[in-house]
Structure formats: structure tokens, C-alpha cells
Amino acid sequence: MDSINKAVLDLKRLDLLANNDSSIHRLDARAKVLVTCVFIICIVSYGRYELAALFPFFIFPAVIIALADLPPLFIARKIALLCPFVLVVGMFNPVFDREVLLHLGSFAVSGGWVSFASIVVRSILTVGAAFILVGVTGFTAVCQALERLGMPQVFAVQLLFLYRYIFVLTEEAGRASRARELRACGKKGLGIRSFSSLIGHLLLRTWQRAERIHMAMLARGFTGAFHAHRQSHFGKSELMFVLGWSTLFIFLRLQNASQLLGKLVTGLFP
């Protein structure tokens, strides 16, 4: 029953993280968006059976979480709710791909398991990158960065608008849903009929709210754009941030760091 409220609380917590003040938070949002994109592209560009080479990329989330003082357990918990669709699709790899790919001592590991593990690691890295981006930048700043990188203004306004009202409407929906569940006494009365009139009422109230908001906005001279409260510019530190991380990612992409290090260590202590 409290799943809606839980989801809203989670959303708020992630949103509030962006209010921290750290060297990473102070960077221009465009730099962080660009670095996140390079990171994700490097990761998904690996072949299906790549596993060891993906691990060095954990340096990025680890360093950013530390520098930006994000709560690591909270992020880890959110990542742990990995998209179930990915897991379901990934689980078919061991079924269809049974050719033995490598031997670990006496164990034979099939290609399917390797690629399944690779999918899970990719998932952790890419989903984690998205959470970290929001945590160190904030939704509003991400939108503004995207707008300055060329996203149409109408869509930027839409995103900002949506974001402002998500909190209002999810709380309203949560209250309505709780009331319905309390009256349902268990199972009966939670079907499509009560759902549709509940959603219908919510929709009509939302519609009226939009009309009121529109009038209020007109009264305040809305011209079709929101104004940012913190103006930042793309300076030297942003350039260093983008170049530094991108170089690292591309280096890691081209060199299998795990392999190099492992050989070095096993070579030293035979």
C-alpha cells in the first residue's frame, strides 16, 4: 500500500542530493551530461563476451560518489532494483548460448553465462551513471544543459513543467489510492471500475488545475521560457573534467586494464 509514498520519498531524496555543494556539483551541467554520455557509449560499445574490461569503469562512479559526497548505499540500493526486463532477457543467454568459452580450473563456463554477467555489469554501470548524473546535477540543471546543447525549448519547458507537478500529483494520487485501498477491505473493489473512476476524477482535477495554472502564469507574464536561478558557464575546470574523463574512458576502452594488471601481478608472484 505504501509503495507510492515510498517511490515519492525516493524521488525526493534523489532530487535533494543535487542541492549538495561539492566540486562536482559546482561544475557546469553540460560537462557532466557530456561525460556521462561518453561513459555510456564506451560501455555499450564492448562486444557481447566482454567482461573483465568492463570493471575498470567502476572507477568513475566510485570517484564521483566520493567527491560529490553522495550516499553510496542509497545509490547501490537503487541500482539493485535493476530493470527486470534486462534480467529476464539476459537469463535467456545461458539457455541459448551453451558453447564453452573458458575454463576456470575444472569448471567450464559457457558463453551464455559470460554474456549474461556482462549484461548485468553493463546494467549496473549505465543505470548507475544515470542516477549519479541526477544526484550531482539535479533534474532542472540537466534540462537546462540539454536545452543549451540544442534541445527544443518547447520540450525543455515541458520537462521542467512535468517535474514541478510530479510531486504534487503523485502525492494526490497516493492519497486517493490509499483511500481506495482502505475501503476495499482486502481484495474486492480494486478492479478496473473503481480504478477508472478514480483516475477519471484525478484527470479532471488535473485538467482544472492546468487551467488555473495557465491563468496564473498569464497573470505573471509567462512568455514561454523558464529562467534559471544559477547561471554557470563552461570554463576551464569543465573542459578539464570533460577531457580528463573522456581520455580515461577511451584509454580503458582500448586497453584491457584488468588483463594488464592481472598479468603484472600474477607475473610478479608466480
Partner: protein, 342 residues
Amino acid sequence: MHMADALLSPAVGGAMCAVSAGTIAYCSRKVRQELDDKKVPLMGVLGAFLFAAQMINFTIPATGSSGHIGGGMLLTILLGPYAAFLTIASVLVVQSLFFADGGLLALGCNIFNMGFFPAFLAYPFIYKKMVGNNPNQTRLTLAIMVSAIVCLQLGPFGVVLETVLSGVSSLPFSTFVLLMQPIHLAIGAVEGLVTVAVVTFVFKARPEILQGALEAGPTGSRPVRTVVVAFLVAALFIGGIVSLFASKNPDGLEWAIAKVTGKEELEASKQGLHGVLADLQQKTAFLPDYSFRKQPEPKKSETVPVQKDEAGKVGTSAAGLVGTMIVLALAFLSGLVLKKRK
């Protein structure tokens, strides 16, 4: 049925991002041209409404399990195709950033799968045609049911195509289609029922909302049809190019490097640290190009002939494991150290 980064190749993800970004730009221009600034807050608040509505569950008749509304068709009916596409896209952006729904690269796929089909196929070609100019209950019910089912067949089919083209999953196309389509037939029927129920409620309470939406949309379906054709052509074109490169080149980045430098791989000086490292890699890599490569394995019944390099292989895979562990430990240690220092 959110597509995810982990299942995507950069070529497919990038192409779909380009297509979705193009559609967003087009819809933004259209919404701006309509100059109906009343729609601006309406789109925003209805997006938030959809977000909230997706959190409320209902019990699915005759199964006992519960589901939630998708709402793509509902928004399209209320807002018309252009505004609805933008609204659905914005909801997906928030979901990808705040919930583990897919990822940033997969956003292009998700926007296309869940926004394009209701807004630019089902709405103009099914819903509007079937409802006509003066809606009544029967027509609305039929039109919405058919549209919802069609959307929820095409969307998952998009997911299947994107997954199979990316080649990260080993699911064969036919198996995947057989898994996805029947499930989504049922989901589409339920989605249709719920959408009918909500639209009927709105139709009874405030018929002018539906009427207004029907009149406000593009009158002839010609502009929409040109859009659809243009995007199909673009998709085929991009798909063709992508598959051309995909077949000739193992992956996009190496191809890009080859293009930029004119060589297969970055050539580094043979002396110095890089030379040593490269030499080391040459010796240690499972195989010089990919870390693992499939070898034609004998059939199960045959005995595996012991190969000469079996011992060496175990050694290198051990090195890979050890290296991975160390790298992982280093990554987290660096995080810890940075955290302590603060």
C-alpha cells in the same frame, strides 16, 4: 517493456536516439506553430498525471494479478499527436533518470516504442478513422480497444527488433517474438479496457474535452502520413547503413578509430611504457582482438582433445580474474580514500 542500455549496441541506440530527437524537434515546432499556449501547462500537468497514474494498480480481471495503465493512447486522445508525443517523451526522460527504467542511451528506443506508435500510427489511422467526427460510446470503445492492442503489439515488436539488431542478447528473433507478442496481446487488451473506462468517464463528465481534442488535431491525415513515411524511410536508411558497418566491423568505436586514423588500430610507439604494455597485452590477451573468442567446440559426445595451450589459457583467465578483482578493489578504494580525505 522498457528497453535498456545493457542490451543495446551503440549503433542501434544512436540511430534510435537520432530518430526520437528528430521527432521531438518536429513536434516541438508543431506545438509552437499551433500557438495554443494553454496547452503548455496542460501538457506538463498531464505528464505528471500520467506519472502518478502509473503508480496506482488495479486488479486484472480473471487473473488475480495487478497491473497499471500505460497511458500512451489516453494522452494521445486527450492532447492530439504532437503534444502527446512530447508529453510521453518527457515522462520517459524522468523515468530513465529517477527510476532504473532503461537508461539514457535507451531513451531513444523507449520514446520511439511508446510514443511514436500511439501518436503517429494508431491515432491518425485507427482512432480518428473509427471515431469520426461525432464520437459515441460504441465507436469510442471499439476505436480505443483496437488502437491500444495495435500499439502494444508494435511497441514490443520494436523492442524485439532493437534487441536482436544489437546482438548483446542471444535470444533468437523468432523465440523472442513468440515470447513477447502473445503476452502483449493480453496486456494490450487490458490497457484498452482501462483506457476505454477512463475515456468514457471523461466523455460523460466533460464531453467538450474529447470533442475539443478531436477538432484541434490535424484535420487531414496527410501531414501525419508524410511524417510517418519520412521516418520509415529514415529508419530504413539508417538501419541499412548501420547494418552495413556492423557486418563489416566488429564494433563502432574501432571503426571510428580506423576512420579517424586511417589504420585498423591505434599504432603506438614500440618503445617506452606503452611499448612494454602493448607487448604485455600481446602476450597475455586471450586473443589479441577480443578478450574471449568462441572456438568451434566439438559436439558434446566427443571427448575434448587436450590442446597445447590449455595450461596457458587457464593461466591467462586466472590473470583476468585477478586483474578484475584488483581493479574493482582499486576503484572502490579510490572512492573511500577520496571520501575520507574530505
